[in-house]
């Protein structure tokens, strides 16, 4: 038992030292270096209405890494989100319809009938709002929920089938909208890693700017 007392004493000091090192010294060091060398990224990659990185939350309209829920017909729609992208109106917040910041998905299993019902309902709504588009042209990413509920991207195909509708409701020409999509398409790294994808928020900021001109 004498031995155990010795071990216990060592353990206590060991915990103290490791907590200082791992819980304080390490995150503080990392925060210091990140805030000095990569300030915008370390603070959430916020962007302003012009699409430029900013560190001022008052100027920011979103983060280039996070998707947003868009309701206007003149805007591109992102993927299905179980948390509505943490986007809410004043009324939502006051009535408690917005439960607070979250992340996640519906977690439907492949065989869950709710999954099928959700996709069919969304598909009908989408086809109605986008005449000329057939079900076979709608890519799976547009009607399936993202894992985080915050996915900022859609596939190039999902953007392409929305171009006509966005052009019509925004009053911009289809060429202009096509160009906006092209400019906000992110490519595979080295042509190998990842997927081709379109940043929905950046597209919509560009659409809004073009409409204001």
């Amino acid at each position: 038992m004498k031995n155990f007392g010795k071990i216990l004493k060592t353990v206590c000091f060991f915990c103290l030292v490791m907590m200082l090192l791992c819980s304080f010294a390490y995150p503080l060091l990392l925060t210091g270096v990140s805030q000095v060398t990569m300030q915008a990224k370390a603070n959430g990659s916020l962007i302003d209405a012009d699409g430029n990185l900013t560190t001022d939350p008052a100027e920011a309209v979103g983060s280039e890494l996070l998707g947003q829920n868009f309701t206007g017909d003149c805007f591109f729609k992102g993927r299905v989100s179980s948390i509505n992208y943490n986007t809410y109106t004043k009324e939502n917040a006051e009535s408690g319809a917005y439960p607070g910041v979250a992340s996640g998905s519906f977690n439907y299993g492949s065989s869950n009938p709710d999954l099928k019902a959700r996709i069919e309902e969304d598909l009908d709504m989408f086809l109605e709002a986008h005449p000329g588009v057939t079900a076979a042209q709608v890519p799976a990413d547009l009607l399936t929920a993202s894992g985080s509920g915050l996915d900022p991207h859609i596939s190039p195909q999902a953007a392409e089938i929305q171009i006509a509708s966005v052009a019509e409701h925004s009053g911009l020409s289809e060429e202009t909208v096509e160009k906006i999509v092209e400019e906000n398409t992110e490519h595979k790294v080295l042509g190998i890693f990842g997927e081709e994808r379109v940043n929905v928020l950046k597209c919509n900021l560009a659409v809004a700017r073009a409409m204001a001109q």
């Binding site: 990569m38 603070n43 890494l65 065989s111 990842g194």
Partner: protein, 568 residues
């Protein structure tokens, strides 16, 4: 396909030098970084009163359990009173008892099963003093035990627990965590102590953006094969895993150290044969290569099934008429697509990290069976150190079964395998299915357990199996649909994690201690060789056969039945 092969190639390239560096640390040999770390370690030894003498296996195990127990106590207190502590800009209150119990066991056992959501359940102080702290110390505990185990099997003294802990944290985990953390920030992972941000969107609505010291947690979460996320949706959230580059960094970080443990083991065993000692060290030694090879085969088979199933997609979604060329996208992120998601899924459950970059509950039935199966095997590389020890347990079992077949006393590494070792092996092999199947049976027979199931049919049973497999294997990923924050689920998974970790760990140290005491026997023509391809294949079969004998009925009722129901 090419991107998957390239990631695995990068792993093989990185794991050899890392294994060699860790071998030098574990055997107290010179490394290039001694000049920096020797004074640091000496200072820590002095403060803590660590003398550094060799321990017997009992003292080693006692030190490990005591250290973990003290950390559990401290961590539990912090979780309960986090609402009154510093660094709480989002005003989060204390955590409830059963959830605190579950959380603290979860992080101390390197499981990182999370029944809370980080953005709404933990203050920054708790994220740092409990979560990040335990991510370092639990990983180091597993690694320390593994090093003692390797030393025992290679005929060395077991070493000193505290010296092992300090050396792994200062010389491997901390420096790597800083490097990986900075790389993640460069990809867009936030690292700040400021509170959450609210912005006004161009449509006049508001969006809440949760930030925090994410990168610090994210890097050690993968390096230590921990897996608990800063946010509820873990590595699928853009802030935890912003780009495909960060995705690959995270995968490689979680593969690096468990892979390196196998290399360390191989190099230590290579030293044993003094007569053959040459100047050049092999890459990982023949014994190590056999184990590495067997793990790689198991991994490749699982990965192929998972990628294949996800690419084919879900027939229910196909039936709605939409274009499913890109595979099953429900619960996945566009920037990763199916390939990087299925790879991440297989890696995180093979290396028992438990972080997820897509929602496993929404995987196709066979795609979801692979992570489930790899947690049931629990030896496909496995978590930091622990996976290797489990695989060596299977090696001893394979040697024993082959010995019975040819009618000779089984030997491994020139030591006789006898009754005592086999009893310990049996405990380790049996405790895992006992925990998974026993608790699953309990859950589906009780109202409190059934209340957690959120998907109807066969998938509901898979949710339950997955939760306990993840707990017992100390993985921590989940079929997140499960409504698991209830007293029943918190307590039962807490117990599964606790016994899953410590019973196996102590039994494995006991095996090492027992083998170390035995006399060395000389190899003869009748000795079963454990360093060739034949044995590697035997090993793979033994692992699959034991998994099939214990888990096949459960898998048949869960994912396999769901697959057949969808496609038939």
């Amino acid at each position: 396909m090419l991107q998957i092969i390239l990631v695995l190639a990068m792993f093989v390239v990185l794991v050899i030098p890392m294994g060699r560096y860790m071998y030098h640390i574990a055997t107290d040999q010179k490394t290039f970084a001694d000049r920096v770390f020797d004074p640091v370690d000496r200072l820590i030894y002095k403060i803590c009163g660590i003398k550094g003498g060799d321990m017997g296996w009992k003292e080693y195990a006692l030190s490990l359990v005591t250290a973990n127990a003290v950390m559990i106590l401290v961590g539990y207190l912090i979780l309960r009173i986090q609402g009154f502590l510093f660094l709480n800009p989002n005003g989060i209150g204390g955590m409830e008892e059963s959830l605190s119990f579950n959380t603290i066991i979860s992080f101390m056992t390197n499981t990182n099963l999370q029944h809370y959501a980080g953005e709404s359940g933990l203050s920054y102080a708790a994220q740092m003093c409990v979560i990040i702290f335990m991510m370092f110390t639990s990983a180091a505990s597993g690694y320390a035990a593994c090093m003692a185990f390797c030393r025992g099997l290679s005929g060395r003294k077991l070493g000193n627990f505290f010296a092992d802990m300090v050396r792994i944290i200062t010389r491997v985990l901390l420096p790597l965590a800083v490097i990986v953390g900075l790389l993640l920030v460069s990809q867009g992972t936030p690292q700040t102590f400021a509170g959450n941000i609210t912005v006004e969107t161009i449509e006049g609505t508001y969006q809440d953006i949760a930030v925090g010291p994410v990168a610090a947690l994210e890097s050690i979460k993968h390096l230590g094969t921990n897996g608990g996320g800063f946010f509820g949706a873990n590595s699928s959230t853009p802030f935890e895993n912003p780009t495909v580059i960060s995705n690959m960094i995270e995968m490689l970080s979680m593969m690096l150290l468990p892979g390196a443990c196998v290399v360390v083991f191989g190099l230590m065993l290579h030293d044993r044969k003094k007569e053959k000692k040459t100047d050049r060290k092999p890459f990982m030694g023949r014994q190590g290569a056999v184990i590495f090879g067997a793990m790689a085969i198991l991994f490749a088979i699982g990965l192929t099934i998972c990628v294949g199933a996800e690419r084919v997609g879900n027939p229910v979604i196909g039936a709605t008429g939409i274009d499913q060329d890109m595979g099953s996208m429900e619960g996945k992120e566009v920037r990763f697509g199916v390939d990087q998601s299925a790879l991440f899924t297989t890696v995180t459950t093979s290396f028992t990290t438990g972080s997820v970059n897509n929602m496993h509950d929404s995987l196709t039935p066979l795609g979801g069976m692979v992570p489930l199966l790899h947690m049931m095997l629990n030896c496909v590389f496995g978590g930091k150190g622990v996976g290797l020890m489990n695989m060596v347990t299977y090696v001893i079992l394979a040697v024993f079964i082959c010995g019975l077949m040819v009618g000779r006393t089984p030997e491994y590494l020139n030591k006789k395998i006898e009754g005592k070792e086999m009893k310990l092996v049996a405990i380790i092999i049996l405790i895992h299915p006992l925990l998974i199947l026993g608790f699953s049976g309990l859950a589906v027979s009780m109202q409190d357990g059934l209340a957690g199931i959120t998907n109807p049919g066969f998938h509901g049973l898979t949710q339950v199996l997955y939760e306990y497999a993840s707990s017992a294997a100390n993985n921590g990923s989940g079929f997140e649909g499960l409504a698991d924050n209830s007293v029943f689920w918190n307590v039962t998974t807490g117990l599964a994690m606790f016994f899953g970790r410590y019973i196996a760990l102590i039994a494995q140290l006991a095996i090492a201690g027992s083998l170390l005491k035995k006399k060395t026997v000389n190899e003869s023509v009748g000795t079963l060789r454990t360093d060739n391809v034949t044995f590697m294949i035997i090993l793979v079969f033994i692992v699959y056969i034991f998994a099939a004998l214990t888990f096949f009925p459960a898998l048949a009722l869960g994912p396999i039945a769901e697959h057949l129901a969808l496609w038939m």
